[in-house]
């Protein structure tokens, strides 16, 4: 187990390194300079380049990034808040915590609502409850996050005025409601669909027949025998969910004007703020990679057949 985790962490670092290289190459593939504006003269650009080390050969710039990142130095912003330390912006100005909180609440909601909904649908298969949930979840996975978020905003904040329009600081419970719901709705529906399918799949398995044959009570059949087996595909899906929630947070944060990491990333991409792009990419990627690791370990706990040391075919 420990050996496996160490190996996975090593692979995670390699992946991050690769992502850094890709990001760096992509950033530098763009002709021109981040300092190029209508007013800037070649001298000004050259001076700015020299100041931020952008005049050095690419491999040296890349090496500098890696070296600094290993020391925990994420560099300084070139644009939005020029000269500010990027790690200050990300971590100390609360951007990271804001996004992380939003993402984790959404993930939690998807799991604690989605799984029971899926179970209820599977248990009442063919009834009106199942039918209703199927319609709801099928539509749910077809509504784009931004449409839902905007409609929620217009309906509950602008028209009905039940909830605050700007969730900017996410201070109160009310300010969380709409962002979290719009971020998690798709995944709640998806998890519910997935749980229903795998639950029905599990119910048709031979071991459920065995359990019935030995007289196990119906609720134990569902909650003990079917649920744990049907959770396996759901857990595998949680890794992609985390990546998806980060994606969704770009939209949700810009719709609700939440000054989180997602919004910041999009801005920095549009502004070509190299150190910020690099830092946010690495931080968000790390989040996804850590989540994948957690999922794989959870997988092992639920399914004893998976031995973490060897890969399944």
């Amino acid at each position: 187990m420990a050996g496996y985790i160490i190996k996975r962490i090593a692979v995670a670092f390699l992946t991050l390194l690769l992502i850094m290289c890709i990001t760096f190459l992509l950033m530098n593939a763009v002709p021109g300079s981040p300092f190029l504006t209508e007013k800037s003269t070649p001298e000004m650009i050259a001076r700015a380049n020299a100041k931020y080390g952008l005049d050095k050969p690419l491999y040296i710039q890349l090496w500098n990034y890696i070296k600094n990142y290993l020391r925990g130095d994420l560099g300084t912003s070139l644009k939005m808040q020029e000269g500010t330390n990027v790690s200050d912006i990300i971590f100390h100005q609360g951007k990271f915590t804001l996004s992380l909180k939003l993402g984790l609440y959404a993930l939690l909601l998807a799991v604690i609502i989605g799984i029971p909904l899926g179970c209820i649908a599977a248990y009442n298969r063919g009834s009106w409850i199942d039918g209703f949930l199927r319609v709801l979840t099928t539509i749910g996975v077809a509504v784009p996050t931004f449409v839902l978020a905007t409609l929620l905003l217009v309906t509950f904040a602008v028209k009905l005025q039940w909830l605050p329009t700007l969730s900017s600081s996410l201070t109160s419970f009310k300010s969380y409601v709409m962002p979290v719901i719009s971020l998690s709705f798709y995944y709640t529906c998806y998890v519910a669909k997935l749980t229903r399918t795998s639950m029905l799949d599990a119910i048709n398995q031979d071991y459920i027949r065995t359990a019935r044959a030995k007289g196990v009570k119906t609720h134990a059949l569902i909650l003990k025998h079917a649920l744990r087996n049907s959770l396996i595909p759901v857990i595998t899906y949680l890794g992609p969910v985390m990546a998806g929630i980060i994606t969704g947070s770009f939209v949700v944060e810009s719709t609700f004007s939440i000054p989180g990491l997602g919004k910041y990333f999009v801005q920095s991409v549009l502004n070509r703020d190299y150190p910020v792009i690099m830092a946010t990419t690495v931080v968000l990627s790390a989040l996804v990679i850590i989540m994948n690791l957690v999922v794989d370990i959870a997988y092992k706990i639920v399914d004893p057949r998976i031995t973490l040391t060897e890969k399944e075919d």
Binding site: V30, A142, P144, F146, V251, L270
Partner: protein, 452 residues
Amino acid sequence: MDGKFAKLSPFQLDPDKIPDTLSPADFESAAESEKASMVEKHKSVSYWRDAWRRFKANTVSMVALGIFILCLFFAFIGPSLIPYGYGAQYRSSQKLGPFEYSKGEELIRSITDDCDAFYATALQPGSKTAVSKGNYFIRYKGATYAFTLAKAVEKSVIMLAADAAEPLLLVKESDIKDGSVTQSTPIELSETAAEDAKELKLVRNVVPHVFGTDSAGRDIMARTMYGTRVSITIGLVAALIVLIIGSIYGAISGLAGGAVDFIMMRIVELIYSIPEVLIVLLLQVVLKDPLQAWFDSGTTAFARAMSDLGSGIVSIFITFALLYWVTMARIVRGQVLQLKKQEYVTAATALGASGGRIIRRHLLPNCVGQLVITTCLQIPSAIFLESFLSFLGLGVSAPMASLGSLCSDALETISLYPYRLVFPGVILTVVVLTLNLIGDGLRDALDPRLKK
């Protein structure tokens, strides 16, 4: 025992005692043909026919297919049915609500209702210079009437004499005031149209702006139709790209096996663990300028076609080609590995069938169901990604529209004109929903094993 066999207790019948109802002829041997007639033969149906039968039986999927076909009509045929263009800005028709007319259109409507007049609508794409320079012609009752427009017009009514059936006057929108025509322009007529003359479409009725217009005076329905077309096309092409790259990669990996497979799968895993959306966003920005430069310098037909699509869409395709094929590759590889183990493939190999033959005759037909399903479900996810990028302002750029960019445009004025979001948003949802349902139906129909 009164000859009622059905009620006899199983243990009691005496073999020597036969009820009187039977005759000796009953104990003659039966002919083969008689025996055969007792067995009902099942007709063997081909895989595709059987799949289609199963799909047809699935009401939900059939309804979804019907709605999707309607969406296709809306997107591909709809634009030719309405007189508004997706890019045309009708300056007097800004910020109209659904089913509204601009003031001028209202008047034109009353004129065309009152007298024998036609509304000419081919003055696209609305640029004034283009109109004033051009020669125009109309066809009416078999004759061609060519004419030059002396002055710029946006919309015009061609008045026809009730009996002579000749165009007489051209009324410009600006010449209509308070419900009456203040001035009309005589048309210089000639019988034959100039070589590059544009034909004016004559429409009897003024078409309302069904979805309203945006702040620039563009018809939202025309834009939505166009946007639906763009979104569906992007979905199809992206799915096709994924299908081609993914299945080739997966098939090579699965068939080769060994070290090749190992290395190829490690590459897949690596790409898999990259949070693709971050890279996609970067790519969108990065590719924009180089693509534009390539379009500008490009002279080949391919470059020009790409240039028509715009850098946003092309970079979406590139993104799919680079990052999104991994799932497909995994699925195809899994199928290939599974099929390689099947007895009939072993048997074919043992019988000396060549590699190509095994792929064609055995692997491909068995993979095809999975490929169709995965591709079909890839389309909505590509549409989603495109709309997401357009929403963030990175996808298609104006005057082009996609469903995502329309939603994004609607955001600025969302509290005043929520319907501007609702129309493209609902159509986007419906397209994705129906494609998902069709995909589900295909899965049930093509892979009956999965249904249980």
